[in-house]
């Protein structure tokens, strides 16, 4: 953590977060390789957000035989509003899990253990890809700016809070 969460209650299912995520990471709009997604049932309206919980989960890191999932310090500055902003302030320090593409062998161990289904093999390169909080300016939150919605939130856990202090 910090990590991104999608509120299934608030989410309208517009997928702007996935679009922005893919543009940030792929230099083109390609939501099929977004680092988060909102699963929408069009008929019932049921929505389930899928995001990386970073160090609060770390199952990918534990499973990786190559130590290719690396814990990195990060300072997150969110562009725009989000529910936790008042609590967290402008900048949030914490840790994020990123893929070291030099070490990753695309063995697939992490793909199998991820509980939210947000680490996969990249379709163009034989490595894993996952959420890196856009290096500190998460576009998913920046593109969930309808003041009546604000479904994409930033959460901070204990480990991060220690770092703030």
């Amino acid at each position: 953590m910090p990590h991104v969460m999608i509120s299934s209650k608030k989410c309208t299912g517009c997928h702007m977060c996935e679009l922005a995520c893919s543009a940030q990471h792929e230099n083109a709009y390609r939501p099929s390789v977004a680092r988060l997604f909102s699963e929408v049932n069009p008929t019932t309206g049921a929505i389930k957000g899928h995001t990386c919980l970073q160090t609060a989960c770390a199952k990918c890191q534990e499973a990786c035989p190559e130590d290719a999932i690396v814990t990195k310090e990060i300072t997150v500055r969110v562009k725009g509003d989000y529910p936790g902003k008042e609590k967290h302030g402008e900048a949030v320090k914490g840790y994020v899990l990123v893929v070291d593409e030099e070490k990753c062998t695309n063995c697939g161990e992490c793909y199998d253990v991820c509980p939210t289904g947000v680490i996969h093999e990249h379709p163009d390169r034989e490595v894993a890809y996952k959420c890196d909080l856009c290096g500190g300016e998460p576009q998913c939150i920046a593109f969930c700016q309808n003041p009546h919605v604000l479904a994409v939130d930033l959460k901070v856990d204990k480990m991060d809070r220690e770092l703030q202090a």
């Binding site: 209650k9 309208t12 299912g13 517009c14 997928h15 702007m16 679009l19 922005a20 893919s22 543009a23 940030q24 792929e26 230099n27 083109a28 709009y29 390609r30 939501p31 099929s32 390789v33 069009p42 008929t43 309206g45 562009k79 725009g80 379709p123 576009q139 920046a142 593109f143 969930c144 700016q145 309808n146 003041p147 009546h148 919605v149």
Partner: protein, 609 residues
């Protein structure tokens, strides 16, 4: 080229063959995308005088250049053909996620021609196109076929389908996607039924390049922050179109009991406040930060009823126009139309007419205004052409004529009139009469000024022709441009914002005049198509009752559309357009606009010449 995929997918259903060809970029420069590009392809590919029921009538699915990006609302799809219902050119719009998926699969346009030899589902997975038997899905409601195809093909597939109404070729059958999103008007669903296609399903995993994506993201963030997510547009999220019920009722223009009144005594039972009580949550189309969709749930006959909507038009036509003030019955009617795959405006108008015929003693369907039980039965019988439903399925014009009272059919060019009675907003008389596809409120929207904002007097034609042609906020030229983008009505985009997006698209500046001219070019192309199909000034007409029958009460009490005043306003409209007295665009006007076709030109252009 960024934004566009540059590809057109052609599907010949008769031969079971497909081909991919380059998008005509000259046409994209002239006509942009959406409505404009659809019209240009239709001009070339609909042979003059073609029977719309002919296998040769193409069903075109066209995206806008900004589909599949962060440009709010630009996810809309336009479907088009020569309308089997109106005989005019048809462009019918639908939100949801189908258009972006087309872009990710690699297509700007999909064109279906011919007739499949057996009931078929067309399954497009990126560059692989399969024809699958639709036999297991026949008779399924729209929610059922969508779910079945997601299960059978791909959980992420987007589905554009017809319901039972499309299978029985009801003239106002819809194309449905994401369950509650409908390309409603003009019978594109009937044409898909004629083509023996139950659904087109698509999955795309490719990308839409936009040049420097990070710079584009920054620009889009600023656009959302500064212009889109503001009070100007957020009314659609906070309330949505049901807010119009009280407003239009107050203006005396709310269709009531088959347009025999402009005010409805039960309006407060089906207004925005009433719907807010059964609202579950807000939902959005793909790539829309506004999120106008009202997801409602209630009960009818002990069972749950739900729907994204109804929107104002449905409330007006299926509520007040049928004398229905029971919100649960209205929700059920809306759900039935959604599930059967029928346009609610036409469904409500036809059922309202059938009630009127019964009450006046001209027909005996056992229907009456306000009788919710008969009303719900009517919609099911109509979709399946069973019992008296087979007669209702003729549509308002033919049904009223059959029973000897054509004046009771509220239609223009065989398209039923939406929820704004022109007697309460004179501009809508001219708007409906001159719309390219018949009575439609989405070609120009003077009632927005006449009643909603109250900034133009409602009971005069003075200034209306000029407004309908040229107004930036809601005139025909601007809407033609806007629906080529394709930006949704609920984003009050202006020319500066369009110019900014066009600069990202084409890499150069666009003046206001150039943009408005593009809209005018597209509008004139639609007119040429309709003239080529034999439409005349006589078709730019209103239902007789608008001229003859005065309302007894409400804000529009005593008003009618005077025939001479209407005729004069129509001529003024033609003159402002640079058309002659018969409504034919002049050579000078077409040259000025850079319209690249002429009425006398042999229509078919051979590709690659």
């Amino acid at each position: 080229m960024d934004f566009y995929t540059g590809k057109v997918l052609r599907i010949d259903l008769s031969a079971g063959a497909t081909a991919v060809e380059p998008l005509d970029m000259d046409w994209a420069r002239l006509y942009l995308g959406g409505k404009g590009l659809l019209f240009r392809y239709l001009w070339d590919e609909v042979a003059p005088g073609l029977d719309p029921a002919s296998p040769a009538n193409p069903l075109m699915l066209v995206t806008g250049p900004f589909a599949g990006t962060n440009v709010t609302t630009a996810s809309r799809l336009v479907v088009g053909c020569k309308s089997p219902t109106t005989g005019t050119i048809l462009d019918s719009y639908v939100g949801g996620s189908f258009a972006p998926e087309m872009k990710f699969a690699g297509y700007d346009i999909i064109i279906l021609t011919g007739v499949a030899p057996e009931p078929t589902v067309v399954w497009i997975s990126d560059d692989v196109v399969e024809f699958r038997s639709a036999t297991p899905y026949l008779g399924m409601k729209t929610s059922e076929v969508e779910e079945a195809l997601r299960n059978d093909l791909d959980g992420d597939a987007k589905v554009l389908s017809i319901g039972p109404a499309g299978e029985s070729r009801i003239p106002w059958a819809c194309l449905s996607t994401d369950q509650y999103h409908k390309a409603g008007r003009g019978g594109a669903g009937a044409l898909m039924g004629m083509k023996n296609v139950k659904a087109v399903a698509i999955r795309g995993t490719g990308s839409v390049p936009v040049g420097d994506a990070k710079a584009f993201l920054d620009a889009m963030y600023a656009l959302h922050h500064d212009y889109i997510l503001t009070d100007t547009n957020l009314w659609a999220h906070e309330e949505g179109t049901p807010m119009l019920v009280d407003v239009i009722n107050g203006g005396g223009a709310l269709p009531t009991r088959n347009y025999s009144s402009g005010t409805f005594e039960g309006a407060d039972k089906i207004n925005s406040e009433s719907f807010q009580k059964i609202r579950v949550k807000k939902r959005a189309c793909y790539q829309c930060a506004i999120g106008c969709r009202n997801f409602h749930a209630t009960k009818w006959a002990g069972a749950e009823v739900r729907g994204e909507g109804p929107e104002f038009e449905t409330i007006a036509l299926c509520g007040s126009n049928c004398g229905i003030d029971d919100i649960d019955a209205l929700m059920k009617f809306n759900e039935l139309c959604d599930e059967l795959g029928m346009d609610t405006i036409s469904s409500g108008s036809v059922v309202g007419l059938a009630m009127d015929l019964c009450e006046k003693g001209y027909a005996d369907f056992g229907l009456a205004f306000g009788d919710s039980k008969g009303y719900l039965q009517a919609v099911e019988l109509m979709a399946k052409r069973e019992g008296y439903g087979a007669e209702l399925a003729l549509g308002a014009k033919a049904l009223a004529a059959k029973y000897g009272h054509p004046e009771l059919a509220m239609q223009v060019k065989n398209m039923e009139v939406p929820g704004y009675d022109p007697r309460g907003a004179f501009g809508m008389a001219l708007s409906y009469a001159t719309s390219d596809r018949g009575a439609c409120h989405m070609r120009s929207f003077p009632v927005g000024q006449e009643i909603v904002e109250g900034s133009m007097p409602a009971d005069t034609f003075e200034g209306k022709a000029e407004w309908i042609v040229n107004a930036e906020a809601g005139g025909q030229n601007f809407f033609a441009l806007k629906f080529s983008g394709i930006w949704c009505d609920f984003w009050a985009i202006d020319l500066e914002q369009i110019a900014m997006l066009m600069k990202h698209l084409w890499g150069r500046e666009f003046s206001r005049d150039e943009l408005m001219q593009m809209g005018e070019r597209i509008w004139n192309l639609g007119r040429l198509f309709n003239l080529r199909e034999g439409l005349t000034i006589a078709d730019d007409a209103l239902p007789e009752r608008m001229h003859d029958q005065r309302f007894a009460e409400g804000a529009a009490a005593g008003k009618v559309i005077d025939r001479a005043a209407f005729a004069a306003a129509l001529q003024e409209y033609y003159a402002i357009r640079g058309w002659d007295a018969a409504g034919v665009p002049s050579e000078a006007k077409l040259s000025e606009l850079g319209v690249d076709v002429r009425l006398s030109t042999a229509s078919r252009r051979t590709k690659g010449e």
